[in-house]
């Protein structure tokens, strides 16, 4: 076995050293491209995924969403509950929200949206919407008759936004809009600010202060339709949920992942696209190695016949071709991975791909890279084995003299 491997390695090395440099370089170049392609698409999907999840948590859901249990529509004694939640280890802040359906009108445009009542001071601790203002200012706790609109609600004459046609189109900070709540109350508000987080779900929101909301719905004092909780990085959401649940307020809990329906469906689509591209890439790698090996064994059929005639075992010759295929694949993988890590990722980090939800940075996971490398090696070995195996079945004399 060792002798066979030694002979196989010797033959492989000699054929690489004395082989056609152009063919070797081109084969490795193809495998470098395949490797980078196999890294790029999932890297981009990972980056986009992380970016999407991040913006979802930072602007829309928080880490944990607490709602009333079962058929109940509100959480009671919110002030006390938030104080107790914020005392739990791992919790950064919590913010109560009240949602009410409403129509918002400006000039001839009217849209149906949910208006959310917030405590601006707490919201700033849980979410980053206040950092995404493109016009005007963020709400203050004492604000009355003021409303904060997402760009997808206001429109702000930005015809490039995704939902411009279903927005109020021309609203800017300082304009006055009329809000008709689902309880029939109609009220005029001054638009204090417009925010654009890049995440559509967030930018479809409209906010008023709790103080204002209490004047619209006086019976909702110290009640909320949900509480959003921000956790410290690395904190275990399940442990925090268990602690809050043990407070006995009859609540329901969701982690941000459970609310990420839109993000999840996008991620699943990305993963499917990635899998299709990966299959194509592995096929390209396999076919490349197959063609190179096939052409090589056809050209060297006589040489292979001579090797067999002088007593070199068939499996040594076969293994020598597999070693060559491994050489191509390993060199392609190493150069591809290094180039990707030290050139492509830094360059992309300087000029990231911009998505509607923000920039996406290439992220590679070592486990994926290892699995990809393993599959590529197996594909290369299989692709090389087939033509060699076919030639080995030819009689020695036919191999030498045709």
């Amino acid at each position: 076995m060792i002798k066979s491997l030694r002979v196989a390695t010797f033959l492989a090395l000699k054929s690489i050293i004395k082989g056609n440099v152009g063919v070797i370089v081109l084969t490795i170049f193809m495998l470098i491209l395949v490797t980078m392609n196999l890294l790029f698409v999932p890297g981009l999907i990972n980056g986009a995924n992380v970016s999407m999840n991040s913006i979802l948590v930072r602007t829309y859901s928080g880490d944990i969403i607490i709602g009333p249990e079962g058929d109940k529509t509100v959480i009671n004694h919110v002030g006390d509950l938030i104080t107790r939640i914020e005392s739990i280890d791992g919790v950064v802040a919590a913010s109560a929200r009240n949602d009410i359906n409403a129509y918002i009108e400006f000039e001839d445009n009217r849209v149906s949206r949910v208006v959310t009542a917030i405590d601006p001071a707490r919201e700033k601790e849980v979410f980053e919407v206040s950092r995404s203002l493109i016009e005007g200012k963020y709400l203050d706790t004492r604000d009355r008759d003021q409303i904060l609109l997402g760009i997808q609600v206001a429109g702000a004459d930005r015809e490039d936004i995704e939902l411009y046609s279903s927005s109020l189109r021309h609203v800017h900070a300082g304009d006055k809009v009329v809000v008709t709540y689902s309880n029939g109350l109609e009220k005029q508000y001054t638009v204090k600010g417009i925010f654009d987080t890049g995440f559509i779900q967030t930018d479809l929101q409209a906010f008023v202060t709790e103080l204002e909301f209490n004047s619209v719905m006086p019976n909702m004092y110290d009640k909320a339709s949900s509480i959003r909780v921000k956790l410290e990085e690395g904190a275990d959401p399940q442990r925090v949920i268990e602690r809050i649940a043990s407070m006995g307020n009859n609540l329901e809990f969701q982690t941000w992942e459970e609310t990420a329906g839109l993000v999840e469906s996008m991620t699943e689509s990305f993963i499917l696209i990635n899998q299709i591209l990966n299959v194509v890439n592995y096929l390209v790698a396999g076919i490349t190695v197959f063609i190179v090996t096939y052409v090589d064994v056809v050209n060297r059929r006589r040489q292979i016949g001579i090797q067999r005639a002088i007593g070199i075992k068939s499996h040594s010759i076969t293994v020598s071709y597999l070693i060559r295929a491994l050489f191509y694949a390993i060199v392609g993988l190493i150069i591809g991975i290094l180039f990707f890590k030290y050139v492509v990722i830094p360059v992309e980090a300087r000029h990231p791909f911009e998505f509607p939800f923000g920039p996406a940075y290439l992220i590679t996971q070592p486990s994926y890279t290892a699995r990809m490398a393993f599959i590529l090696l197996v594909v290369s070995l299989t692709a090389a084995f087939i033509p060699v195996w076919r030639v080995m079945r030819i009689k020695i004399l036919d191999a030498i003299w045709g």
Binding site: R6, F10, K14, Q307, A309, I310, I312, L397
Partner: protein, 224 residues
């Protein structure tokens, strides 16, 4: 001892069958040097390829040192070729990517017997055939005669019992031919290697102690 009993090789060309060897039987004693002659198409090379275990006969037996080797599986035949037989092809059949030295020691690597330095032995064999100064040359850098002598050195690397040489001088000029044949004779006399060679040149009979003449796949003359 090498023996052949009723060896027959039939090639099928469509519905036509050609009997390249037709009931050939003979024995060659250890250390002998035998020349196989005959006209073109008489079955000389076919016989040598059967003896060298490069091909399988249609029927009959080949006996090597009292063992019938005809029906052995391919892997066992490869081992026999490696351990006991040396084969010199008409067209030299060297591996183009290997130097003369590497061409010679490659079968030794495969055999890999302990205590034997095949690289050193390959060098010695190349010196024996007069190519001690050309060991690092690739086949394309050698003349036909030199390539054939490299092939002979390669056939000797595993100290074979029998060397088969298929028209070893067919592509050589007269001076190179003489040198190759003298090399084979020297090996036979000094190393007591059994040598069976095929030739179409009647002058080559003088190098052999035994003669087999084939015609239409049958032995028509056998003797000294």
């Amino acid at each position: 001892m090498l023996g052949v009993k009723n060896l027959t090789k039939i090639y099928g060309l469509g519905e036509v069958q050609v009997r390249a060897l037709d009931g050939v039987s003979f024995t060659v004693a250890t250390g002998d040097m035998v020349c196989i002659m005959g006209k073109s198409g008489s079955g000389k090379s076919t016989l040598l390829r059967q003896l060298g275990l490069l091909d399988r006969p249609s029927s009959g037996e080949i006996i090597l040192d009292d063992k019938v080797v005809t029906e052995l599986p391919d892997s066992a035949r490869a081992t026999l070729r490696l351990q006991y037989l040396g084969y010199v092809f008409q067209e030299y059949a060297l591996l183009a990517e290997l130097t003369a030295h590497e061409n010679v020691y490659l079968p030794g690597m495969m055999l890999g017997e302990r205590g034997i330095d095949f690289r050193k032995r390959a060098k010695e064999l190349l010196e024996l055939v007069g190519l001690g100064r050309r060991i690092r040359h690739y086949p394309k850098e050698l003349s036909g005669g030199e390539q054939q002598r490299v092939a002979i050195a390669r056939a000797l690397i595993n100290s074979p019992s029998v060397i088969f040489a298929d028209e070893p001088c067919a592509n050589l000029d007269s001076i190179s031919s003489k040198r190759v044949m003298e090399t084979l004779v020297g090996l036979n006399q000094e190393m007591k290697v059994t040598i069976i060679f095929v030739s179409h040149d009647p002058d080559d009979k003088k190098y052999a102690r035994g003669l087999i003449v084939l015609s239409d796949g049958k032995i028509v003359t056998e003797g000294s």
